[in-house]
Symmetry: C2
Subunit: 466 residues, 2 copies
């Protein structure tokens, strides 16, 4: 296979360096130069050997002008598989540049779950209707039905193409059916076994089917279904079940229990990945990944949380303002006070992050919350004592005043315990109130640790030093 050897070689040239997979910067420059020179043939030749996911990465890496040029150069043979792999902001640009006609052609090319996903990305109702109008009626109705389901539900993730047969069939009959060229999906990993009402009862692994002799009945080699996914189930719940049970594929059922689709693990990998990423972003005060968004959209999405933070910072300042006369008298307090607040914030963030993640992975539940809260309080106390001694000693030496050391030490113990309590209690309470703990926990936490930190330190100082 000389042809494939060449492709393989090219693939390596472009993508591999030192055991690390990724586009080489030199390759990206080559594409950029060809785009700028308007040399569309070279562009097409350069990307021909790439996997569609790598082309998606390439498009993301290009500047917005180059992206438009790239679409124009490859429009005639634009690989539809690229679209689902793109970042949302970049995809919107590409769809605009493609136009409705070519975008509709892309929807026809990809599998039904991807078509649903892509059509769902068009937020403008009119645009969506215009694109759907260009699709064959069957695909159109599949997409419309799926889009009527809640966003992020199993029904949006699933593929409708699947292989389902009754349990009384033999291995031979099944293989003959598969070979008959009946309308079957391109790729499938298991065969679903359904009862006469088309409800899933189990599945046969393809490896079991291949290893069994023709007269064997499927009910002798089938496994009972591990899980069945209701069509309205939230995708995070679906991802949890896949991860938990190491599933490759699971049947999706409608309200009456009939098999209507399948979800495969490759769709779920993206959900799992996004879930941890989303929590990470939310904890940092980001509503979403915005690496490829333009400046205006990025500022818009980031400013909300900064405004909230301004509110809490002003609140902390109001607390400090209460002690203006104390600060006037002992200016050393102004120098030291950020230490108490900062240590509380950091220790609290550690606890908070553990709690938010454990809630997402269902490791922290009503059944063990009590034990975890006690543990965090003990840790807060230990941290408080350790850092009380350290900061107390540093402050004493620095300002030559033992009382300042005692006051900062006492404030440190108080704030570390407050931080531990807030770090674990805030996400638990938000979760109980059905609010995503990752979104707002951080603000509440730093409010607590700033206010308690400043108040304890300056308040104790006002009483014991003045």
């Amino acid at each position: 296979m000389p042809d494939s050897a060449v492709r393989d070689h090219l693939h390596r040239e472009v993508l591999q360096s030192d055991d690390s997979y990724g586009l080489l910067p030199e390759f990206v420059s080559q594409v950029h130069d060809a785009l700028e020179a308007g040399d569309e043939d070279t562009v097409r030749e350069l990307v021909a050997p790439l996997h569609y996911a790598d082309i998606a990465d390439l498009i993301e890496t290009l500047s917005p002008e180059d992206r438009d040029r790239f679409v124009r150069a490859t429009k005639a043979a634009f690989n539809a598989e690229i679209l689902p792999e793109l970042d949302d902001a970049v995809r919107a640009e590409i769809i605009e540049e493609l136009g409705f006609e070519d975008f509709a052609a892309c929807l026809r090319e990809v599998e039904s779950d991807d078509a649903v996903y892509l059509a769902g990305q068009l937020e403008d109702e009119e645009e969506r209707a215009a694109v759907l109008a260009k699709l064959p009626p069957e695909l159109r109705s599949v997409i419309e039905q799926a889009l009527a389901l809640p966003e992020y539900s199993a029904g949006r993730l699933m593929q409708r193409e699947l292989v389902a047969v009754p349990s009384y069939w033999t291995v031979g009959e099944t293989i003959d059916y598969l070979r008959s060229g009946a309308r079957l999906p391109d790729e499938f990993y298991q065969i679903f076994i359904v009862d006469p009402r088309h409800r899933p009862v189990g599945y046969v692994r393809l490896s079991s089917l291949l290893r069994s002799r023709r007269p064997v009945r499927l009910n002798q080699i089938m496994d009972l279904k591990a899980a069945e996914i209701p069509i309205t189930m939230d995708q995070e719940e679906v991802a949890f079940i896949f991860r938990q049970q190491n599933l490759l594929s699971a049947p999706v059922v409608d309200a009456s229990g009939r098999l209507v689709g399948r979800i495969t693990v490759d769709d779920v990998v993206d959900v799992i990945d996004e879930e941890a990423e989303d929590d990470m972003f939310r904890l940092a005060g980001l509503s979403e990944g915005d690496l490829f968004s333009d400046v205006v959209d990025t500022v818009k999405s980031r400013i909300t949380w900064l405004l909230v933070n301004l509110g809490t910072a002003v609140l902390a300042s109001l607390v400090i303002g209460v002690f203006e006369s104390t600060l006037q008298a002992v200016v050393a307090l102004a120098v030291l006070m950020p230490i108490v607040a900062s240590m509380g914030g950091n220790a609290g963030t550690q606890t908070l992050t553990i709690a938010v993640r454990a809630l997402a992975t269902k490791e922290l539940t009503a059944a063990n919350a009590g034990r975890i809260v006690s543990k965090e309080l003990v840790i807060g106390l230990i941290n408080g004592v350790v850092f009380a001694v350290l900061t107390g000693a540093v402050s004493w030496v620095w300002f030559g005043d033992g009382m300042i050391g005692v006051v900062i030490g006492a404030a440190m113990v108080i704030n570390m315990i407050a931080a531990a309590l807030a770090g674990i209690a805030i996400p638990l309470v938000l979760d109980r109130l059905k609010v995503d703990p990752a979104v707002s926990s951080g603000v509440f936490l730093t409010t607590v640790t700033d206010v308690v930190g400043f108040f304890a330190f300056l308040g104790l100082a006002a009483v014991f030093i003045l």
Copy 2:
């Protein structure tokens, strides 16, 4: 199948509430009560219908004393599959309670990749040798070979059991071989095609095999390999390739290119999940998830970063100390100064988190770093101007002094730009230096935003207000 119907029903009772999958607290209490009463039969009956991953969750949820009791109650028929699903700290407890003999029995039960993983968890060399001594020679040598490879390498993740056949075989010959009962893995998703030197050249999907007639040769229906994984490749790199190319399974090759194993997507799902989780933890100053660690281990793992943070907080205090006389003269500065530092810290953390994640997902590369840095600087400038106006106005009204408003506004612009620059540049530089940007970026960032924030605000005040 009445039996399975009962199991299914039980499964639902225990695990499902409102479309949400997870152990019901009432169920956990039931198990706890039975454990406390020493009623081992009831314990075994209660957990019998559960999936092994749910039993792992149950064990994690129990208190340490209950865990020991649970192991004693189920020891005779302890399901080895539970072990890989457990949190590290909990697993160490369980292994201790099981003892070497029963732990070795577990290693014999699980698949080779899980056995390697579990044996690798024993950190004490002597303990590990004692357990390995109890294994059959073949399994022992598989584990020893794998453990000789670097931790977190592809060789540790892979399974050695696979199906590999030459490309000139027909579909019929292949099916006959599979049916012959030759030593084959329990489950496989594709058949690898190898050349005479046992190097992988492609693969046949089981669905393609099933749909083709017996005389068809495999080279007519095979797909070229999408990727081949060197045995020493880091697991994060492996996970990236799987995600990128939506792979279900990939061949692993040794230095001479020979097929030595396969990695399947279910192993990689865990790596993908851990990767995002690790970055999230590291950004919060956590070295690892410690929900189930005891207090001593938790304090040990968390205190390092708090100590580093104390250092940076003291550094910031030193900067404030330089301006003691300024603060003495205008105490309002002490009230306002945390606002400048806090806003810089938060805006910087947004940028930092985006950058750390984008480096991990390879969306931020040398090819687009310049553009992203420019964008973040523009955003820093915009944020600076917006929050300069807001805080300037608030400060002016609060203290009735326009100059304070001007100074805090100017300091805000400076610190927001510094935050944007630090937020993007620090992770880029650390990455270039081959240091994990998630681990230490946060400390550097807050050092920059605290120092620049306090210095700019108090320095400008010293010049323009005094």
